[in-house]
Symmetry: C3
Subunit: 161 residues, 3 copies
Amino acid sequence: MPTIEAKLEGQGLVLPAPIQLPPGMVLPFAWVRVRGDRAYVSGHVALDPDGALAKPLGKVGAEVTLEQGYQAARGTALAILATLKRELGDLDRITAWLRAFGMVNAAPGFDRMPLVINGFSDLIIELYGPERGSHSRSAVGLAELPFGAPVEIEAELEIQG
Amino acid sequence: MPTIEAKLEGQGLVLPAPIQLPPGMVLPFAWVRVRGDRAYVSGHVALDPDGALAKPLGKVGAEVTLEQGYQAARGTALAILATLKRELGDLDRITAWLRAFGMVNAAPGFDRMPLVINGFSDLIIELYGPERGSHSRSAVGLAELPFGAPVEIEAELEIQG
Amino acid sequence: MPTIEAKLEGQGLVLPAPIQLPPGMVLPFAWVRVRGDRAYVSGHVALDPDGALAKPLGKVGAEVTLEQGYQAARGTALAILATLKRELGDLDRITAWLRAFGMVNAAPGFDRMPLVINGFSDLIIELYGPERGSHSRSAVGLAELPFGAPVEIEAELEIQG
């Protein structure tokens, strides 16, 4: 069975560098908090390979199309995997995805949030398979997200302790 | 002590069929993710017995009244119980409700979200009693919810492993 | 090593009384749900020492400035600690903060939610130190919060069982 990283490589997928924060912004929390067999993943947004915020920014249903929102959710999965790789060393230490909370920066009246967050779920299940990759999920419309990101996702996972 | 299902029956409460999704919408995640003694419940909305979205849809404080919102939250509890029954077989395998995250599709200026989500909490505590049914909770106003649902709730529970 | 309560006292910080709810509002859930080594903390808002809602109320970026929002997040940390003190007896029974979900009542276009929720994270890490106090976090913009509060935070912690 190929490793998760072999699968990423096989698909030409790149894990981005840590987020580049705006000058003067200090974030004191942990991007992932590991304790025992649990990993609590902070809200992530999609990033370019160098850690810059992925474009386009803005609200899905207005400046950002549904398809671009799907790509942002997929990019958010990669940003989360990048954080987990830095913390765990090996992405195969993840034994079960448990919960994903998918937040869409929603334009008034836009209610297809599930189709946006599928960009995250599809990739995680593709990489980890239907058993390890299965997860509970919400996909809802927020009023505003940090930096105008179109999508933010937080998650909880089980890991090999 | 009557079982949970006997209590539901005694009150004439019906657990709805699985949600009928709009044509072409595929949702790849699990409605509940069970792992060890934990069940992570995806965001659910209220359903008619046949799995259609319960009416009225829209924002609480505008198209949907507070009392209708309360009923939607109660219906959401039933939809969650229906999912748990399908997954666990027996609703008495739930040993403790832990966390509920109550999301209200809020009209501008509507801030009585706790009174809406009480529709969920009241039913869960009525069915499971003050010890097993006790749960932490947030009740907040979202900008948009999928399909224009007035209420969506996700949850975490402890189960007999 | 000074206890958490000694640290609070040393800084002149006061844990507020339980929230004073508007007349007629009954909230049936638990402000914190403890089970085994986990404590699930309900969404809290900032309170005055007597349990009244801390002022100013309203949206951050409109009626409430970023700095006032930061203070509200700090006050929310104190309200959560007050609940945990009542439930656990001793705030040093908390062995690890795990997750904080920071919700900002965001005015349209306000996207500095992380700088607001830092008011919570900074205090928790100051009190508990970088190891025990570390936590995953999201900081996002809600459409409405109960009672017009500018900030609401829910959390999950590990405790000495």
